[in-house]
């Protein structure tokens, strides 16, 4: 009994060892481990050359004074006498022994009266004037050198030349072109990382709340409210886009002169402020009458429209101001460009903001109104209404999905992209409504949580380098594509990290805030946010650190920054320049590492 156990154990060990052996053997085969290549002399030579080049980053250079000395030379020896003119011995001169020779023989070359301790190359110059490098020379303290060179295989009837170029350093060291380019690109890299991190945070913070289980777990809704919200979203988005377009026209008409626009903007802002102040009383113990609430809703609507108008005016004003200031700012013209760009960006995103806000408001309103309406219905009539609403919502959802699929695959068949999705969606919705007729509680919070998580995980799985390829196609090669790619990756990564922090906060304070009668939003602001500030700052610093590292290579895919230079120089086998860029990356990454850990320590 015991023996067989021991036997089976040793058998199992043996099989495991064998299995391990096979796995590693296959690994060697697949990765082509090859020790012969390592030992090959040719490979070692190239390795030495590259490593030596890498050890000498192309950063500083000296201005060189070049003194060229030449001597005529014949290959092969001409028939008859060699006409040797006596060199001027007062200056630097060369002698070659023998004075003429056959191709590919070794000759001794000597130099006299050179500047002491200089060095330079020795060239053979055939009549085609191509410089054929034959060797190097270095003079001693008396300005003399002696070396042997091998003549090239260039027999010619004409007299050819051997020249030496003695190079002496003039003045102090100065930066090379590579160094200056590297500096420019490394600055670009750092700011690329900064912008990507900033954009990333702006989106990651709100998203992180939707990806936090402890906040979303308790959010539930009813079938009818969910159905009305789903119908409300596309409706609201469409409405928002229309409104934004109209307001943009109005704002265009109001923008002619900068000063007038400024005055209108101030008036509009004040109007928004006063309307909001009136419509949103700070504190109310009892619910006001319906007429008061209706008036307030109207005031809020007006102030919302005015806000959109104000944003458009601000955008226009920024562009105007930027254009007006550019000539007078001189070398600080980038500030004016910044204003103009901000204005243009604002102009573009107002439509998106308005669409999203309108979608949210309409869907929220539809849900609430629907709920009050449905609560008054009797149990018997509620079910058919629920089924109808859920069917419409299901059809809407699947039609939108079908539109997206059609955009990608261009099916363009009415039955496949219109009728079938609508029918299936309606049936699914109705089915859901019937199933939920007893306990009308849908865990919408958890659904949003899982959807957000899935999208974030999918985005995180795509490397920033690959995202850069897509963005390069969209916005062209350059740092902007890199910013967009890194931003997207940052959103996915930070939202995940942030949401895990939200999930690990203390539940007690949250419970206490909820117990005071706070709304969900207030609970987040007063119970969650104070608890997550330190980890958020810490993770943001960490992410900036990562982004600096990523932005050094995002240029490989055309995303701008120093990576662009680096890959170019590696491809051109210009290892000394590549070495300068690697050095710059190493310095920046090390500094960033140090700085971020220092700041995290200070803040947290």
């Amino acid at each position: 009994m015991k023996k067989s156990k021991a036997l089976s154990r040793s058998l199992r060990t043996g099989i495991l060892v064998l299995l391990g052996l096979i796995i590693y053997a296959y690994g060697f085969q697949v990765t082509r481990v090859n020790l012969k290549e390592i030992q090959s002399e040719q490979r070692q030579e190239s390795l030495t050359r590259v490593l030596r080049a890498l050890a000498k980053p192309d950063i500083i250079e000296y201005k060189l004074d070049e003194a060229t000395v030449e001597i005529p030379y014949s290959i092969p020896c001409p028939v008859g006498d060699v006409n040797l003119s006596e060199p001027d011995k007062g200056k630097a001169y060369l002698t070659v022994t023998p004075p003429c020779a056959d191709p590919e023989t070794e000759v001794q070359i000597e130099g006299f009266n050179f500047a002491p301790n200089t060095s330079g190359p020795i060239f053979f110059i055939p009549p085609s004037e191509v410089r054929l490098k034959r060797g190097d020379m270095t003079t001693d303290s008396s300005g003399h050198f002696s070396t042997t060179i091998r003549l090239p295989d260039r027999p010619d009837e004409n007299i050819q030349k051997i020249i030496t170029i003695a190079r002496t350093r003039v003045g102090g060291p100065q930066l090379t072109r590579t160094a200056i380019e590297t500096w420019e690109k490394i600055v670009e890299t750092i700011f690329l990382a900064l912008l990507a991190t900033t954009f990333g945070i702006l989106f990651a913070i709100p998203i992180s709340f939707f990806a936090a289980r402890n906040l979303m777990r308790d959010v539930t809704t009813t079938v009818s409210a969910l159905a009305l919200s789903i119908i409300g979203w596309p409706l609201g988005i469409w409405l928002g886009i229309q409104v934004a377009k109209q307001v943009q026209k109005v704002s265009g008409a109001l923008t002619s002169n900068g000063w007038i626009t400024l005055v209108i903007l101030i008036v509009v802002s004040l109007a928004v402020y006063w309307l909001a102040r009136w419509a949103l009383p700070q504190e109310e113990v009892t619910k006001p009458a319906f007429s008061v609430r209706a008036a307030r809703a109207f005031a809020l609507l007006i102030s919302g429209l005015l806000t959109i108008l104000g944003m458009y005016l601000l955008a226009n004003l920024a562009v105007l101001a930027g254009n007006a200031l550019r000539p007078s700012l001189g070398s600080f013209g980038f500030l004016a460009n910044f204003f103009s760009s901000l204005g243009q960006i604002l102009n573009v995103i107002i439509v998106a903001i308005t669409a999203l806000a309108a979608g949210g408001v309409v869907s929220n309103l539809a849900g609430r109104v629907g709920k009050t309406f449905l609560d008054r219905l009797s149990m018997g009539t509620r079910l058919p209404v629920n089924i109808l609403l859920a069917a419409i919502a299901g059809a809407t959802l699947l039609l939108l999905l079908a539109a997206v699929i059609n955009w990608f695959y261009q099916i363009n068949r009415r039955d496949l992209i219109l009728y079938w999705p609508a029918a299936i969606g309606a049936i699914l919705g109705a089915f859901l409504a019937i199933r939920a007729r007893k306990i009308d509680v849908l865990p919408i919070g958890l659904a949003i949580y899982y959807i957000t998580r899935t999208i974030l995980n999918a985005l995180r799985a795509i490397e920033a380098l690959i995202m850069a390829i897509v963005f390069v196609v969209w916005v062209g090669i350059g740092p902007f594509a890199g910013v967009l790619a890194l931003s997207l990756h940052t959103i996915a990564a930070l939202a995940k990290l942030y949401s895990e922090q939200v999930e690990s906060i203390m539940a007690g304070p949250l419970e206490a805030i909820r117990a005071t009668g706070a709304t969900r939003l207030q609970t987040v602001i007063y119970g969650v946010i104070p608890q997550i500030v330190p980890p958020y700052i810490s993770f943001t610093m960490y992410r900036w650190d990562i982004n600096v590292r990523m932005s050094t290579i995002i240029g490989f895919a055309g995303g701008g920054g120093i990576g662009f230079l680096l890959i170019q120089n590696i491809n051109l086998l210009n290892y000394r320049a590549a070495s300068a860029q690697m050095l710059a990356i190493a310095i920046v990454v090390a500094l960033m590492d140090y700085l971020s850990s220092y700041m995290r320590e200070k803040v947290v």
């Binding site: 909001a276 949103l280 109310e284 206490a512 805030i513 117990a515 005071t516 009668g517 706070a518 007063y526």
Partner: protein
């Protein structure tokens, strides 16, 4: 008047925390809830302000069924019910003043909360409450810099900000030493007597019950096993509440 009728709560895992509990609390009473750990005291208190949803039964308060209230109604109910917790449940990184002001959140407009604004009257009120519990000088300090007794006083001030009709105190002195425990209990007693606020307070120590409570209800494994005056708890009742092997201390 708070009336609890046949209240039961079964947690998702199948644990039955409350079994058919019924009792009434007249307005202005100081009611102690006693029982062993895990007997359902916390669950009972949390069912009253719906931090936990009960499985069946009714909780009638001023003629309204709390168990059947919708989300908006529950908010309006909660803001009149203050709650004090065993572990104080203050937001550590916020200032004492902000923690106290949080008691006002049920009243202020959520839109103003977005920019962290409270009305001036509320801020003045918060200082008054802090003065009442004797720590007005700590208003600007961070909540976690305070000692345990001070933190619980902030918790009481927060509950007072709600202008409560009723305060639920979930073992408010269990993490404090005996001297501090009495001082905290005295604040609750004062609020009960001066403002006429109903207090439901779960307690561990019988001497505190005798000293402060008007009436006692006792839970054992989710069942109501006693409902009466504190001095009615004799040795027999005591063993019924706390089990056969329990011994009286203090």
């Amino acid at each position: 008047m708070l009336e609890i009728k046949n209240l039961s709560k079964t947690y998702e895992g199948g644990v039955q925390a409350l079994k058919n509990v019924s009792f009434q609390v007249p307005k202005g009473q100081f009611l102690a809830v006693i029982g062993l750990s895990g007997s359902g005291k916390s669950t009972l208190l949390r069912c009253i302000n719906r931090l936990i949803d009960s499985t069946s039964g009714q909780i009638l308060w001023n003629g309204m069924d709390i168990c059947a209230a919708n989300e908006e109604e529950i908010r309006l109910i909660r803001r009149r019910i203050g709650m004090v917790f065993q572990h104080f449940n203050l937001v550590h990184r916020s200032s004492v003043l902000t923690n106290v002001l949080a008691g006002r959140l049920g009243y202020v407009n959520p839109a103003w909360s977005l920019i962290n604004r409270f009305p001036k009257e509320d801020i003045a009120k918060a200082f008054r409450q802090l003065e009442r519990v004797g720590i007005a000088d700590k208003a600007q300090q961070r909540a976690d810099e305070l000692s345990g007794g001070q933190q619980q006083r902030v918790g009481i001030a927060r509950a007072l900000m709600q202008d409560p009709e009723m305060i639920l105190a979930d073992e408010p002195v269990a993490s404090l030493d005996p001297v501090l425990a009495h001082s905290i209990m005295q604040y609750l007693e004062k609020i009960n007597q001066e403002d006429g606020v109903t207090v439901l307070c779960s307690l561990h120590f019988l001497d505190l019950v005798h000293r402060y409570a008007d009436r006692v209800v006792a839970l054992n494994e989710g069942q109501l096993v006693f409902d009466g005056l504190p001095n009615e708890i004799d040795d027999l009742k005591f063993k019924e509440i706390y089990g056969k092997d329990a011994e009286r201390v203090g």
